[in-house]
Amino acid sequence: MSLVAEPGLVADREQADAQPRRRGYASYVGLKVLGALGSLFFMLIVNFFLFRVLPGDPAKTLGRGRLVSQEQIDAFNKTYGLNQSMPQQFVTFLKNIVHGDLGISLQYRTPVSQLIMDRLWPTILLVGTSTILATVIGVYLGIKGAWNRGGMFDKISTGTSLTLYSMPEWWLGLLLIAGLGVGFWFVPGIFPTGGLNSPDVDPNSLHGVLDTMWHLVLPVTTLTLAYLAEYSLIMRSSLLDELGEDYLQTARAKGLRDVRVRNHHAVRNALLPTTTLIALNIGFVVSGAITVETVFSIPGLGLLSTDAIDVPDFWVLQGTFLVASAGVILANLVANLIYGWLDPRVRT
């Protein structure tokens, strides 16, 4: 029973099937992956320019202070194509990277790729834990603050977030070490002041695992506080932007509970700019990891980079730069894919 007298009066665009939707997301994914590859390539160019072109002769610096024969120098130059023209060097550079050869470290005299593999896990552990905690807590704080904006919770939460955001995260780490690691006044220094493991504990045993977790308490707290300040501010501002939208009035008019209007409608839409902004600031995650590892002497990629500064160990720096950038590109890709899943408008 139709209430419309003449349904055919206005021609309807008939797009009956739901198939286009699936195709839409697939092509969106393809596009984003291509974009990521493009960024990767650009980054490799920058990397090459920065570390090959600007500094001096690696063979000489590596061989400094040791007896090195001309043959060894020649062989070294050949592997890394140092006698070739610039474009050819770049090709060799790319070939080496594909094979996992990132050069030799000046300090440790070991392949850079080896060093990176050894140090990868502590960094992932530290950054991974902090990011997850910070996202969960930060998003929650942002939502509560925005929905009851101007209230006491909002004022305190926003003020704290702004202050934490204005703080160098490593300085917060220093304060935590001084306060809870070393202890001052009446506060006991119960936490370790650095490192990932106690010296006489087997890291693979249960005791070792607990020991590692205990060592990670302060650094994870530092990073989590630094990240969550930013995430809660982002979530809050995104949700505030959604508050004036018309569809929220429709939702309330339907008789929905306030919490459902907030979560199912407002927050669901606010997640879109939040994802974008968090993706834009992933560099912040990386820099936080570098500085906090340095301060807490966690043997990860960050400490590797900062240790390489003084030498200067260019090839280690190049390697960590590569890994960090590739990580950011990957994280951005993931964020883009999540966005495409959340927002149907970009898929079709």
Binding site: M1, S2, L3, V4, A5, E6, P7, L9, V10, D12, R13, E14, Q15, A16, D17, A18, R21, E245, D246, Y247, Q249, T250, A251, R252, A253, K254, G255, L256, R257, H265, R268, N269, L272, L342, D343, P344, R345, T348
Partner: protein, 335 residues
């Protein structure tokens, strides 16, 4: 079936709190809608009609101050308990919002959005019966039921508006408030949407409050029309009469703004009304329409006119009705 009036708004005042002082949007409005009746509310933007509509379901912003009564089926919406109000929302009365472009959530499918109030008001409904209901609703407004899987951005303006109507009917409300349902639609789609709405009333006995600045649309569809200006009612009466023989000068101007096809005189008469609606914060003591009124006289500036009954079954708020025009011959517009 209850015998109480479906909707009775009594002496409603709504004022918004702004940084520059209180802004009175509605200043003492009475309105009635009976079951099976269509009441039109006409006026320019800013006259308070949308605010009026939002009060029916107590959707005005928290910062607004409200006094008066909004009686839905005899119960005052303004003082209802939260649980009662939520039950009334959508299941008792629903609203078709202005500007459907943004009244639908862009990230959820149409079907899910229509199903939502169904699930809230009757949690016992199974998946199958909900899907059937959605199909039936979409069919009633002339949309392909497969549309349920579409997202709002995949629909045209007219289609979205029809989705809003289907959604408004989902819980079988007794009252539907349609706020500018045909603005921003082209003429063909407008005709179709109006057809849907009139069919609603005829076949289901739903009461309707229809808001528009387009008096000709209201005249076609409604039983009675209320004309608002600057937050007050300036004229009220049967739809046809208000449109063809308005009493209040403002209604006259509104009516004249829409030339009738086949009327040669209408092609040559000036259609617009000079000036703008008054700033609600700076209302003068007298009639708020006086600055723009072609029939204004000195007496109009003394006090705000009261709504009084003129001819049988018609009301208007003007002191100059029936008085001779000192400057020119009274036109056939003035009663």
């Amino acid at each position: 079936m209850s015998t109480a009036t479906l909707l009775a708004i009594r002496d409603l005042h709504v004022s918004y709190a702004t940084g520059e002082g209180p802004l009175p949007a509605v200043r003492g409005v009475d309105l009635t809608v009976e079951r099976g009746q269509i009441v039109g509310v006409a006026g320019e933007s800013g006259c308070g009609k949308s605010t009026l509509a939002s009060t029916v379901l107590r959707l005005q912003p928290p910062s607004a101050t409200v006094s008066g009564e909004v009686l839905f089926d005899g119960h005052d919406v303004m003082t209802m308990r939260w649980g009662e109000l939520r039950a009334v929302r959508w299941a008792g009365a629903s609203i078709v919002f202005q500007g459907a472009l943004h009244s639908l959530n862009p990230v959820h499918r149409i079907g899910a959005q229509i199903a939502e109030p169904l699930l809230v008001h009757d949690p016992s409904l199974g998946r199958r019966s909900i899907d059937e209901r959605i199909e039936a609703l979409l069919d009633q407004v002339g949309l392909d039921p497969a549309r349920a899987r579409s997202y709002p951005h995949q629909l045209s303006g007219g289609q979205k508006q029809r989705v809003m109507i289907a959604m408004a009917l989902a819980c079988d409300p007794e009252l539907v408030v349609a706020d500018e349902p045909t603005t921003a639609l082209d003429v063909m789609v407008q005709a179709q949407v109006l057809g849907v709405l009139s069919g609603l009333v005829r076949e289901r006995g739903v009461g309707m409050m229809m808001i528009s600045h387009d008096l000709s649309v209201l005249a076609e569809l409604c039983d009675r029309i209320t004309v608002m200006y600057a937050g007050r009612v300036v004229e009220e009466g049967p739809a046809g009469k208000v449109f063809s023989a308005p009493i209040h000068p403002y209604s006259g101007a509104l009516s004249a703004a829409f030339p009738r096809v086949g009327d040669p005189a209408a092609r040559f008469s000036p259609a617009g009304l000079p000036g703008d609606p008054p700033d609600p914060r700076n209302l003068s003591a007298g009639c708020s329409f006086a600055p723009r009124c072609p029939r204004a006289a000195e007496i109009c500036l003394r006090a705000e006119p009261v709504l009084t009954t003129h001819l049988d079954d018609r009301m208007a708020a003007c002191v100059r009705i029936g008085q001779p025009d000192p400057l020119r011959e009274p036109t056939e517009v003035a009663g």
